[in-house]
């Protein structure tokens, strides 16, 4: 898969929640080639930060040649992006990695926190298959994702830790019920490690395929630094999250006791 190294002009960069931002970028090469689950490695020019930051591709509009990123301010990199203004250029390397493999069966998308970002793009790609979506968050406010997903999803289930919206509890507590009530074949998930691990176990129990999207600190993002590697549970081989992933079949990543 060819990677591009371009400057993307910022078209929109707006706060959508306390510390969460939506950025729309003019980046036709990326838009043309991106697959759901891939990410871009970005950097502000003349930045005080030395390394690029990985961000999932949340939306793609091939016609307009745009992509969008949805990101939370965590530290000095994301804070810097949030402070950028429309018209500024963001340096982009991408699209990077192996995205989700699109399976034949009925999809269920499970997301937690900012892990939802690349799942928006995935939902679009899967829309013909009438995907179910399960999204969890701390409270009603945090679960702003349905507005990006509703046009693609058949049904969106919401869980909140405080019960302010949907089911009160964690996504993984609600997941078995979805699997019992619906004909689902393939699970696609992205979110905190601990959540994905539970999802993977439940998927296995119910005999569903499960793909997970991993997060690791990255220096190069192009498979040369070996900052992001782990040992494949199936083959025992070393894998790179950046270029071999970030999406992997759950069995390659997690132990199942």
């Amino acid at each position: 898969m060819k990677k591009f190294f371009i400057e993307g002009c910022i078209l929109i960069n707006e706060k959508i929640l306390d510390d969460v931002y939506y950025m729309l970028l003019q980046a036709p090469e990326i838009a043309d080639h991106a697959e759901p689950g891939q990410f871009v490695h970005v950097k502000k020019n003349n930045s005080i930060n030395f390394l690029r930051r990985p961000l999932g591709i949340a939306e793609v509009d091939k016609k307009k040649g745009t992509i969008s990123l949805i990101y939370r301010i965590i530290g000095r990199g994301t804070a810097e992006y949030a402070a950028m203004t429309v018209g500024e250029q963001l340096s982009i390397v991408g699209p990077i990695g192996n995205g989700f493999m699109i399976k034949e069966g009925r999809p269920l998308i499970v997301g937690g926190g900012m892990g939802m970002a690349p799942l928006v793009f995935l939902a679009e790609r899967l829309q013909e298959k009438k995907p179910l979506v399960l999204v969890g968050g701390k409270n009603e406010q945090e679960v702003f994702w349905p507005k990006y997903m509703e046009k693609y999803a058949d049904k969106i289930y919401v869980t909140t830790d405080d019960g302010s919206l949907g089911f009160k509890g964690f996504t993984v507590q609600f997941l078995p019920k979805i699997l019992e009530d619906n004909a689902v074949d393939d699970i696609y998930t992205c979110g905190p490690d601990i959540m994905m691990h539970s999802v993977a176990k439940i998927a296995k129990k119910y005999g569903k395929s499960c793909q997970v999207s991993m997060e690791k600190r990255m220096a190069c993002g192009i498979g040369v630094c070996l900052g992001c590697t782990f040992t494949d549970k199936i083959t025992g081989k070393r894998r790179k999250v950046c270029v071999d992933g970030p999406v992997f079949p759950a069995e390659e990543v997690f132990d199942y006791e």
């Binding site: 060819k2 690029r52 190069c220 192009i222 040369v224």
Partner: protein, 304 residues
């Protein structure tokens, strides 16, 4: 108007361009195909190889620091045999010099690796005696002149290739190390490897890196690297490959003036995957502007 020549010789190694991708930051070259013409660069220095495959260090391996980064990869690599079998055949095609970076735990193992790599397709060996991220081998050889010399002799004995010894900056007196490996037969030295450093996660009260410490590189270390290259150039006659924080042509020219015959770009590739090309173009631009036709007119030409 004369042509500008960017060629330079390091031992018996002929480089068409004086800029290479540094070990551990350039993979095996292929990974940069999307960003630059790999067949046009000075040389590919491979990720550090060891006698056996290594998984590297556990936990977090990368930390960003002011104007630089720490890494504690710990020499993850497929081992020298897998390299020869699976990787070398694929990267020969670039017709660019392949410099194989090697590390080992004993003097004998260094020699044995050198022998295995004394084959067509390998153009030079870079002997890493300076990796701060592994316990066995690595830096213990790089901080003691006698051990460094022993490793160098052992490698030289087992190869006909150009032998470049990679020096550590974590020493009191680099001249002494450089002279020791020169006397032991090194054809060239390269420097600097990373400087040992550390970052602490104050919320967890733990080192950020799984391996506690890591190696610092990037622009932050450039003034240190430049000084060590200059000091080394005063001490030995063999050519020097300079590196440490090089991001652009101007940085590279500083190293050349200080006495490096060629340079390598390391962490800079991560910020700018086209860095090796940009640095090369930058050197050429400087030469054009200053009416310089040959690198000899720059190398070591600092007026002190």
């Amino acid at each position: 108007m004369n042509e500008i020549s960017l060629t330079v010789d390091i031992g018996r190694l002929h480089l068409k361009k004086p800029v290479m991708g540094a070990s551990g930051t350039f993979g095996f070259g292929r990974e940069y195909e999307d960003f630059l013409a790999v067949h046009e660069i000075g040389a590919i220095v491979t990720k550090g190889l060891t006698p056996l495959p290594r998984e590297g260090n556990p936990g977090v391996r990368i930390a960003e620091t002011p104007a630089g980064m720490l890494n504690s990869i710990g020499l993850e690599n497929p081992g020298v045999d897998a390299f020869i079998r699976d990787i070398l055949p694929k990267i020969k095609k670039y017709h660019v010099p392949i410099i194989v970076n090697i590390s080992a735990g004993t003097v004998e193992d260094y020699g044995e690796m050198a022998q295995k790599l004394d084959i067509v397709g390998v153009d030079a060996l870079e002997v890493n005696i300076s990796c701060p991220n592994v316990k066995e081998g690595g830096i213990v050889f790089g901080t003691d002149p006698r051990s460094a010399a022993a490793v160098t002799s052992s490698v030289k004995k087992h190869t006909g290739k150009t032998v470049i010894v990679k020096l550590s900056p974590n020493v009191t007196d680099i001249s002494c190390m450089a002279r020791a490996v020169e006397a032991a037969g090194a054809d060239a030295v390269s420097l600097i490897n990373t400087i040992t450093g550390m970052v602490i996660d104050i919320n967890k009260r733990k080192p950020l890196l799984g391996n506690v410490t890591g190696g610092l590189s990037g622009p932050a270390v450039k003034p240190v690297a430049l000084h060590l290259v200059w000091q080394t150039a005063q001490s030995v006659k063999i050519p020097i490959i300079g590196m440490g924080g090089i991001m652009n042509g101007e940085d590279a020219v500083e190293f050349l003036l200080a006495g490096a015959s060629a340079v390598a770009v390391g962490a800079g590739n991560f910020a700018n995957p086209r860095a090796v090309k940009d640095v090369t173009d930058g050197i050429e631009k400087y030469m054009r502007k200053n009416n310089i036709h040959n690198l000899d007119e720059i190398i070591g030409k600092l007026e002190v």
